[in-house]
């Protein structure tokens, strides 16, 4: 599903150049559940951004589902993100003035699905998350766990091949974290590739494979059981 060869990425600020990724090689098969661990500044978020086509890389090759992703136009990148990738963020990133249902439906808006139809589909996904009765609430009326489930529903609605989760449990208490992880595992069981960036060990342990990044290099790949 994901094939990365010798990816380099540096950030240039003024005269300083910060070499963040120093030749990453990574293969993730379809349906895998992988965690990426590393200290802050190790480059794990940058890697996730590149995987999510939110950011460009300087050199190397990135194949997503067999397609070379390299210097796409913004429009192409947007369309590819819309079809292939679902995001789950630590801070949820829900649109504050839209209710839960509208938030979930948003990716379908960019697929030109008619309003009624996409709201109907959004309701289905909210039901699967057990949030049907919260559909018309604004994000600030929901608890952290509920928000994250709305975000997960939103990530799923576009039928992505890959879900990228950036510290999905970072803002949640341990009980809710477990619930969210259960949910993510269920999703993975339906065949969607799942990549989780985390710095929590017990979260990483629940994935099949942990990739440890240190200082822009993959230093360790651990198989979990």
């Amino acid at each position: 599903m994901i094939r990365i060869k010798q990816i380099h990425k540096s950030y240039v600020t003024g005269q300083n150049s910060l070499h963040v990724l120093k030749g990453i090689d990574l293969d993730i098969a379809a349906g895998e559940m992988v965690s990426i661990m590393g200290a802050s500044g190790s480059g794990k978020s940058t890697l996730l951004n590149i995987l999510g086509i939110l950011d460009d890389y300087d050199s190397g090759e990135y194949h997503l589902n067999g397609l070379l992703v390299n210097r796409l136009s913004e429009r192409k990148a947007a369309q590819l993100r819309n079809r292939m990738v679902g995001f789950v963020f630590q801070s949820f990133n829900l649109v504050s003035f839209k209710n839960a249902m509208e938030n979930v439906a948003l990716p379908l808006y960019y697929q030109n699905v008619p309003r009624k139809k996409r709201n109907l589909i959004a309701m289905e996904y909210l039901e699967r998350m057990g949030l049907a009765e919260w559909a018309h609430h604004l994000p600030n009326e929901l608890s952290g766990g509920q928000k994250q489930r709305v975000a997960i529903a939103r990530a799923l609605i576009g039928n992505p091949k890959v879900i990228l989760a950036d510290e999905p449990t970072g803002a949640l208490d341990s009980k809710t974290s477990l619930e969210v992880m259960d949910l993510l595992q269920e999703i993975n069981a339906t065949g969607i590739t799942l990549i989780i960036v985390t710095h929590e060990h017990d979260i990483a342990l629940r994935t099949k494979k942990t990739i440890r990044i240190t200082d822009g290099n993959i230093t360790e790949i651990i198989m979990n059981n």
């Binding site: 939110l54 913004e74 429009r75 947007a78 963020f89 630590q90 576009g158």
Partner: protein
């Protein structure tokens, strides 16, 4: 592009920032309001002045006799010039160009009676062409004709005010009746209306100049010669005037440059002066109006910049979910266009409302009448509004499209 979802989107953001939206819209509404009021007032001024020019063809030239003011060939200053029928004939035959020409005699106010009704009216003997030169509208009957002149007929064409004051009660039919002018009976053959604002022009009686000279004067003197220049250009009209002046100066022995010996009034020249004056005023108004609107646009643009800044995160989220740059641009542009259009429309309605109110409640003065923005101005203003909204939204939209999702979504 115009989808209900986006409208709701815009509605919800506008709802959340009522004061901000109001202030933004106000500047645009004010600009349009000012433009409409200014243009309407300009139109009112123009209508008022145009009114002054009504009554008489715009290509008319009036030549009146006066007194000499320059010594010429040993003749003293202050010698009165008296036109005669010979002058009329000379101009008619030698000056080419005029399509209508008439001489006039000034007989002043005369006592006119019909049965027991009396009145004092201005008697204006002339040639048949004067009806064209004065652009009289015949309400009944006809104007004078050439047979009236050649047969010295005692016929009269009376103004509608003359008719209404002489023919009253049961006897309101004027046509074919005989009115007594200075003791002489004249048959009424026509009733006219003059488009001039001047009420006195409606209180005139036109009679054949030949009859007047024979009955009231016993001479062949005339006071004024007037003609219309047809489709001639301004230069050609000037040439006709020059030729007439040269002819008259030769016939009456006065200096060609003596402006007091003959007094020439070229209406077309006056009209042209006013036209260019109003073209200038209109340009001035547009510059001010557009300046005001530009200030409004800058205001809207400014606010939209802030909106984009505030919504950076949301734009980042949208992008991560697959929003194309174009969809972001159209979102921001539409918001700007909608705010300016609605606010501008309110300004438009208020401006037109004020003008209507003034037109209805304020009595028309000599130089101000019917202020009002016409349809073409409303169309122009509408186009201007949408364009203004697009301009106001363009730069903020470009900034919004340039938002990098990575940076927008980065947790603080």
């Amino acid at each position: 592009m115009f989808e209900i979802d986006k409208w709701q989107e815009i509605y919800s953001t506008v709802q959340k920032n009522k004061l901000r939206t109001f202030l933004t819209g106000f500047s645009v509404a004010w600009g349009i309001f000012m433009l409409i009021v200014l243009l309407g007032s300009g139109a009112g001024l123009e209508n008022g002045v145009k009114e002054q020019f009504k009554g008489g063809a715009t290509n008319g030239v009036w030549i009146s006799s006066g007194k000499t003011s320059i010594q010429y060939k040993g003749l003293k200053i202050g010698r009165p010039i008296r036109f005669t029928n010979e002058d009329y004939k000379a101009i008619k035959t030698t000056v080419s160009g005029p399509d209508h020409i008439s001489a006039r005699l000034f007989l002043g106010n005369n006592l006119v009676s019909y049965k027991n009704e009396y009145g004092s009216f201005f008697l204006s003997p002339c040639h048949p062409d004067y009806g064209f030169i004065k652009e009289l509208e015949m309400l009944q009957g006809r104007f004078l004709n050439n047979i009236d002149i050649s047969e010295f007929r005692k016929v009269a064409v009376i103004g509608e005010k003359v008719k209404s004051s002489l023919f009253k009660g049961h006897d309101t039919v004027a046509m074919g009746k005989y009115v007594k002018i200075n003791g002489v009976l004249f048959k009424v053959v026509g009733v006219f209306r003059d488009f001039s604002r001047n009420d006195d022009e409606q209180k005139r009686i036109y009679i054949p100049i030949s009859t007047a000279q024979r009955v009231f004067q016993g001479e062949n003197v005339i006071n004024q010669i007037s003609f219309t220049t047809g489709d001639a250009t301004a230069a050609d009209a000037d040439l006709m005037i020059k030729k007439s002046r040269a002819l008259l100066s030769q016939m009456h022995t006065f200096d060609f440059d003596d402006n007091r010996a003959v007094n020439i009034w070229n209406k077309n020249e006056e009209v042209r002066k006013f036209r260019s004056l109003f073209a200038g005023i209109r340009l001035f108004i547009w510059i001010i109006g557009i300046g005001t609107i530009v200030a409004g646009i800058v205001g809207v643009s400014n606010i939209m910049m802030i909106v984009v800044k505030e919504r950076t995160k949301e734009i980042g989220i949208r992008k991560s979910l697959g929003a194309t740059p174009w969809s972001i641009v159209s979102l921001i542009m539409q918001e700007a266009i909608i705010i300016t259009s609605i606010a501008g429309y309110i300004g438009l309605v208020l401006g037109v409302g004020i003008l209507e109110l003034v037109a209805k409640k304020m009595p028309p003065t000599q130089f101000f009448k019917n202020p009002g923005a016409d349809f073409s101005i409303a169309v122009m203003a509408t186009i201007l509004l949408v364009a203004a909204g697009a301009v106001a939204g363009f730069f903020p939209a470009m900034r919004a499209a340039g938002v990098k999702p990575v940076e927008a979504l980065r947790d603080e």
